[in-house]
């Protein structure tokens, strides 16, 4: 099994680039170029990015990957959805983390299943 995988939620391209899901294509190119430049120069202001799961380390690979994902209109739609869901459920997530800490209390999934029109198994 492969352990050190990227996390598709925390690595959502919009988080990596620090952009809102409704940004334009030009903004993606502009911000991506800027971040690559900042990273190349080793500047601290580009070193991390914010996600609902907390701050993450930003790398040139992540930025290039994010730009590539958002250039593809079909894939961008998926990420837009994810970015929204992530924001909306980040509160729920914290609650779930707490639930994990106190055993026996399983988090409620039903909302998430419905969101995707998917019946819980």
């Amino acid at each position: 099994m492969q352990q050190q995988q990227t996390d598709p939620l925390a690595d959502n391209p919009f988080f990596v680039l620090g952009l809102a899901p409704d940004c334009s294509r030009q903004e993606i190119e502009r911000e991506g170029q800027k971040l690559l430049g900042l990273l190349e120069l080793g500047l601290s202001r580009a070193a991390t990015y914010q996600t609902p799961l907390g701050p993450r380390e930003r790398t040139p690979e992540l930025v290039r990957g994010a730009m590539a994902e958002l250039r593809d209109p079909k894939r961008r739609v998926v990420h837009e959805l994810w970015a929204d869901v992530a924001q909306a459920t980040s509160v729920a997530h914290e609650r779930a983390e707490q639930a994990q800490a106190s055993p026996g209390e399983a988090p409620a999934w039903t909302d998430v299943w419905q969101l995707f029109d998917w019946r819980a198994p």
Binding site: M1, Q2, Q4, Q5, D7, P8, L9, R25, Q26, E29, R30, Q33, K34, L36, G37, L38, E40, L41, L43, S44, R45, L53, E61, R64, G65, M67, A68, R71, D72, V78, W82, V85, A86, T89, A92, H93, A96, E97, Q100, P103, A106, P107, W109, V112, W113, L115, F116, W118, A120, P121
Partner: protein, 838 residues
């Protein structure tokens, strides 16, 4: 000649004066012809050689005195003096084949001959533009393998280039077409039919961004095949008229066949312009008989009959490519034709009929690739001018700048950082001014890291030069080094996608995937792997292999070995025990060149030597055996496919079979001493192998579907019980992708998604209160097979204690250690390219 020299001198003078902006050089190093182009940010100019032509035949001649001739002057000898003249060496790039020059009694490697062509183009650029380019972009076929790319870089180095980037030919064509298009939005198909390869690429432009959607192609289809079709027809004509029977597979007929092929090519080219032509065969050598003299007439209609099936094969590829990406042929906006044979009327006609778009007019199919490569050099910031930095102004402040060299954005960012600044001399504010004097940025503060970020405004479609100024307080100016920089406003090209998944083969015959297909290049990644056996220091025999493979399969043996890192006992400072950690980093640059590195933290030693693989040599015996085995395999698969009624497989097998038929000719020619045909056949086998693998994978479909069903159920249950919210969401996402892959019957994609799902499920399952308990039990049951029995038994004991104490973190640590001591199946290891890591 003399007149030309005069003109060159004045050109040179002129260019010297105007070389204030960068120059970008692109080179199309073709199998048959090569070309170069220079881009100044506004105009792309095709380079003319000493003969005034924009095409230089990729032919090198070395005479008895060692004099080297390149291009048209060498080409004239290709047939007359075959022992001292070589062409089509691009096909041998990456092989260890030495090419002999009899009179001079020397041999040259393919990359050395390519270097001669590059040198000649470099000289032409110097004559016409007044500078010897130091940096350039060289185009390579989309399907070039890693060793071939490496050989191309080597050729450039030998030709005196300081730095080159490689670019796939179809991207180059599209870039050139996109640059000259007035209104360029929409989808593009680039149809590149060359001397020996066909490439089709689908691209899209929108808002100034050029994006590659997909490639397809046929490595073994080109103008030469048309020539051979004509030769076969000529052989039939000769037999009919003279009863002399010549054969392509008889070594003694080589001279006659070479002659006929040349005549066939001339006739083919002639028929692109005229309706009919006469082929005059004069003194054709016939072993054991009198030389033949005869005249045969060939008209365009006959030529088209001979070539139609080949042309339609190219169009099948185009249709398949469109379909794969959900595009109806009618949905294309532009078709760009590239390469010599694309000039043939039948090609243009069939393209228009089948793809329902008229090919874009006004683009030169012969220099388009070189032009695109030159534009790409601009996007990569690869200024070709020799470094001639004027002395920096004393007391100037150096800055390190980052900005796109070419940008579709009219207001890109420029990021900079002061280098080696002294606190009492460094500027506190920076601004930039555009050279036309019509725009300047506000004074921008330098932050505590010595950095600044500015937004600049560009004039469209040309190079924009900016001057940088610094100051300390309103009065004190600080000179900046470099004083200026340039950004070309134009297209943005998205990073080239990796064509095949790259990873490390593991000892259990699995693959640790480093980069998935489609990942934007360049990429770099590091994984921690562990050795599976002890390597004693100083031992010469003991070599631990880290095989690097390319391919889409989960099983290492199905993927192709492209390189191998080796940890040699003789180089080790100390013994390396089994289970030692090795940090393996793989890096690919934009042109797909690979480098790899293994760091052994416990020894603080780095191994960088990648055993580069050469394209294997293809002996006629091996090829013949391959042919037989493949034919046999196809027969078996066909029988199975009919039985199981797998229609798609039958279709594929039919296409494989028709290619096998043409391969037979190549294998026969290889037996007749044609090394080029041998290489072509070898590569054809690689492709056929991949296709057969795909069919095998299809055959496994029912099994795969079952696996998918089970994995989904297991993962859903596990994640419902132990997953985090985001894992649940990923589950639904993955389940959808699996559903889609199932509907499309896409085995590779299904396999990929299952991999993701399994990972997701196993992450969640680790939160099961007894997860590590179960894992420990399983590992402990195999402890008797461990590489280090004593250590394993100690671990088992420790584990039991941990279970009793309910110490999960300890149990986890112990189980993981135990895993490292358990051996892999030796069979698996052999299959996994003898990998020494996992």
């Amino acid at each position: 000649m003399v007149r030309r020299h005069k003109r060159e001198n004045s050109d040179t003078l002129l260019t010297r004066m105007t070389l204030t902006t960068p120059r970008y050089v692109g080179i199309d190093l073709g199998t048959t012809n090569s070309a170069a182009a220079v881009f100044d940010g506004e105009q792309v100019t095709a380079v003319r050689n000493a003969q005034g032509a924009s095409l230089t035949p990729s032919v090198v001649r070395i005479d008895g005195r060692g004099n080297i001739t390149v291009g048209a002057r060498a080409r004239r000898y290709l047939e007359r003096d075959a022992k001292n003249t070589r062409g089509e060496f691009k096909r041998l790039m990456g092989t260890s084949q030495d090419l002999a020059f009899a009179s001079a009694d020397i041999t040259r490697k393919p990359e050395e001959l390519s270097a001669e062509v590059l040198k000649s183009l470099r000289k032409d650029i110097e004559d016409q533009f007044g500078f010897a380019p130091q940096r350039a972009v060289i185009s390579v076929p989309a399907l070039f393998e890693l060793p071939q790319n490496a050989a191309t870089s080597e050729a450039a180095r030998l030709a005196g280039f300081e730095q080159v980037e490689l670019l796939q030919e179809p991207i180059a064509s599209a870039l050139a077409a996109g640059w000259s298009a007035e209104e360029s939005a929409g989808s593009w198909l680039v149809y590149d039919l060359g001397g020996g390869t066909f490439d089709a690429s689908l691209l899209e432009t929108r808002d100034g961004l050029l994006r590659v959607i997909g490639h397809d192609g046929d490595n073994f289809l080109g103008g030469r095949d048309f020539d051979w079709a004509i030769v076969d027809w000529l052989l039939a004509q000769i037999k009919q008229q003279t009863e002399v029977e010549l054969s392509r597979s008889k070594p003694e007929h080589t001279a006659a066949i070479t002659r006929l092929k040349q005549l066939a090519e001339e006739a083919k080219i002639e028929l692109s312009r005229n309706e009919s032509t006469e082929i005059a065969i004069i003194e054709l050598p016939v072993p054991g008989g009198d030389p033949l003299d005869l005249e045969v007439s060939l008209d365009r209609e006959m030529l088209e009959t001979l070539c139609l099936a080949l042309v339609d094969r190219t169009l099948d590829v185009c249709t398949r490519l469109c379909k794969t990406h959900g595009l109806d042929p009618g949905g294309l906006h532009h078709v760009v034709l590239v390469g010599g044979p694309s000039v043939m009327p039948i090609v243009r006609r069939r393209v228009q009929q089948v793809l329902q778009v008229a090919p874009t007019e006004g683009l030169d199919p012969m220099t388009l690739v070189a032009r695109g490569a030159a534009i790409y050099a601009a996007t990569a910031g690869l200024d070709a001018r020799p470094e001639s930095r004027p002395e920096p102004v004393p007391e100037s402040q150096r800055v390190w700048l980052q900005h796109p060299a070419m940008s579709s954005d009219l207001t890109p960012h420029v990021v900079g950082k002061l280098v080696d600044s002294e606190p009492d001399k460094a500027p506190g504010e920076i601004r930039v001014l555009r050279s036309d004097g019509l725009w300047e940025s506000p004074w921008t503060e330098v932050d505590e890291e010595g950095a600044f970020v500015l937004s600049v405004t560009l004039i469209p479609r040309r190079p924009n030069i900016f001057r940088i100024e610094g100051r300390r307080g309103p009065e004190q100016k600080v000179a900046i080094e470099p004083p200026t920089f340039t950004i070309v406003q134009g297209l943005t090209i998205s990073d080239p996608p990796l064509s095949r998944t790259v990873g490390v083969a593991l000892a259990n015959n699995r693959v640790r995937v480093y980069f998935e297909r489609g990942a934007p290049l360049p990429v770099r990644r590091t994984f921690n792997l562990r050795t599976v056996e002890t390597v004693p220091a100083g031992s010469e025999e003991c070599i631990l292999k880290i095989p690097i493979v390319q391919g889409e399969f989960d099983d290492a043996h199905l993927c192709r070995l492209v390189g191998s890192l080796e940890l040699r006992g003789e180089k080790l400072k100390q013994h390396l025990p089994a289970g030692a950690e090795v940090e393996v980093t793989i890096e690919l640059d934009r042109g797909g060149r690979m480098s790899a590195r293994a760091l052994v933290p416990s020894l603080d030693q780095v191994f960088e030597q990648v055993a580069h693989l050469l394209v294997p040599e293809a002996t006629p015996e091996v090829l013949a055996a391959n042919l037989e085995a493949t034919q046999q395999r196809v027969i078996e698969l066909r029988a199975e496919a009919f039985q199981a009624k797998i229609i798609s497989a039958i279709g594929r097998l039919n296409s494989i079979e028709s290619r096998l038929a043409s391969l037979e000719t190549d294998v026969a020619a290889a037996a007749g001493g044609d090394t080029d045909a041998a290489q072509k056949a070898r590569r054809a086998f690689l492709e056929l192998d991949a296709e057969i693998e795909q069919i095998e994978l299809d055959k496994r479909w029912p099994e795969l579907e079952e696996e998918a069903r089970e994995t989904v159920i297991w993962a859903s249950a596990t994640i419902a019980d132990f997953g985090l919210p985001h894992e649940a969401k990923l589950l639904t996402d993955t389940a959808k992708a699996i559903e889609q892959a199932k509907n499309n019957r896409d085995a590779l994609e299904l396999q990929r998604q299952l991999r993701l799902l399994a990972r997701l499920g196993s992450t969640a399952s680790l939160r099961h209160p007894h997860a590590w308990h179960h894992r420990f039990e399983r590992a402990a049951s195999k402890a008797d097979q461990a590489t280090d029995l004593v250590a394993a038994q100690a671990l088992v004991k420790e584990g039991k204690v941990a279970i009793n104490k309910d110490d999960v973190p300890a149990l986890r640590r112990i189980t993981q250690k135990l895993w490292q001591l358990l051996p892999d199946d030796p069979e698996d290891r052999k299959l996994g390219h003898n990998s020494g890591v996992r």
